[in-house]
Amino acid sequence: MRRITAWILGTVCGLVLLFSYHTSTMGPAAPRVAAGALALPAGPVATSPTTVPPASVPAGAPPAGARSAAAGPAVPTAPATATDTVVTGPIVPTRRGPVQVQIQVHGGRLADVVAIVLPDANYRDERINAYAVPILRQEALDAQSANIDSVSGATLTSNGYVSSLQAALDSVHLSRS
């Protein structure tokens, strides 16, 4: 499944770059279209992704706008059912700047594509993007793999402490006196 969605994503990156951008995850920002690009109507996209060649991706470090989320494998963010999947792709450096898309697959068909990160040049003038950077939520980042010292979270009570991550971190270094 992951290989398939990653492959769909690759073609979708090309699709998005070629045709349209819209930012339904970006709050009040109105849908908008890259200069010189064609707009696809909102809603289900009938085009089969297999007919669109992948975008060429130049080598090199991602531009500055992409630094808040490292490029990585596609991550299914809400796998509701086997035939109903939302996949958020990696940030892909392109000639226009970093691009990240989210695709929705319903019944094995591509249902929607949402660009959640767009090239700098296109959104620099849009105020919401000047202060809010959408970030990929990873499937799992546990304390052990992240090598952490402490945890910041909503107020942890004494009752909740026993089963908390912080308690585990503390127990490693507690003084025996």
């Binding site: 995850t25 709050g27 808040s68 989320a69 490292a70 963010t77 105020r127 000047a130 202060y131 809010a132 950077v133 959408p134 970030i135 990929l136 939520r137 990873q138 799992a140 980042l141 546990d142 304390a143 992240a146 090598n147 952490i148 010292d149 402490s150 945890v151 910041s152 979270g153 909503a154 107020t155 942890l156 009570t157 004494s158 909740g160 402490y161 908390s164 991550l165 912080q166 308690a167 971190l169 503390d170 490693v172 270094h173 507690l174 003084s175």
Partner: protein, 266 residues
């Protein structure tokens, strides 16, 4: 290419004060110095005193007596005046989204500065650790129920790595913030339900699941995190304009948004 330096010696202390766990982690060659134990004791002592003055759960605290009309602000412990002034300033800085005046169970307005006192008390207590850090060369990380203040003895010290809790996954993290100074505070509903009230509506604020703010002052980071929960994602705009402060939020829909410079490692 040399291997990683051997880990510095490290110790931790934990006490339960103000209804929450207070963890102190210290590391460095100076750990054995007698001044270290004294500084740690001073931190806990400070926080216990703050609890006795400001606890809204203790009927004999100055704040409880103030709310019952048995004391005036001037008749309270002098730190109450300081906190009242800071609450006023917090209200001004956040456009009224931070407000310690809440509707009480009896219908009257209660003064509950808890949203500011936690960060204020933690930052104030951390001064003992700042001091011993400079004197004997140890790094410190003070965690008060999820609000974290840190410091390092030298520029060669590695940063403290603070995990940011994922409000939707027990033991899950949104990422890691490496910090050498200042603090990181998180507000939200993960452990206590909708406990942040929108002063404009009197109802729980629910557009965001969590808000994390980093900055040079833990107290202000905490105030801004609380205000962000109330104000919603739009608060990212004014936090991005505050020198030294950055914010990360999880929306009710589960989206993650941050100010451009938020130092999140994944």
């Amino acid at each position: 290419m040399t291997g990683p330096a051997p880990a510095a010696p490290r110790r931790a202390w934990v006490e339960q004060i103000m209804g929450m766990p207070i963890s102190i982690h210290l590391r460095g060659a100076g750990l054995a110095d007698g001044a270290v134990e004294a500084a740690v004791a001073s931190v806990f002592e400070d926080l216990r005193e703050v609890d006795s003055v400001f606890s809204t759960y203790r009927p004999d605290s100055d704040i409880s007596r103030l709310n019952r009309g048995e004391l005036t602000v001037a008749g309270c412990h002098p730190s109450v005046t300081e906190v009242v002034d800071l609450c006023d300033e917090a209200g001004r800085r956040t456009g009224g989204t931070f407000d310690p005046h809440l509707p009480g169970p009896d219908g009257r307005t209660w003064f509950d500065p808890s949203g500011l006192v936690k960060g204020w008390a933690t930052e104030r207590a951390a001064a003992h650790l700042e001091d011993v850090s400079r004197r004997v060369g140890v790094d410190f990380c003070l965690n008060a129920g999820g609000d974290v203040a840190v410091g390092v003895a030298t520029t060669a010290s590695p940063p403290w790595r603070v995990g940011i809790e994922d409000p939707d996954r027990h033991h899950g993290l949104l990422g890691v913030v490496p910090l050498r100074s200042g603090g990181v505070a998180t507000s939200g509903s993960a452990h206590r339900g909708g406990h942040i009230i929108d002063p404009r509506t009197g109802r729980p604020a629910d557009t965001l699941r969590a808000a994390t703010v980093t900055g040079p002052s833990l107290m202000w980071a905490d105030v801004y995190a609380t205000a962000t929960i109330v104000a919603g994602p739009a608060a990212l705009e004014w936090i991005a304009d505050l020198p030294g402060y950055e914010a990360l939020v999880v929306t009710a829909a589960g989206d993650l948004l941050a100010t451009p410079e938020f130092p999140l490692e994944r």
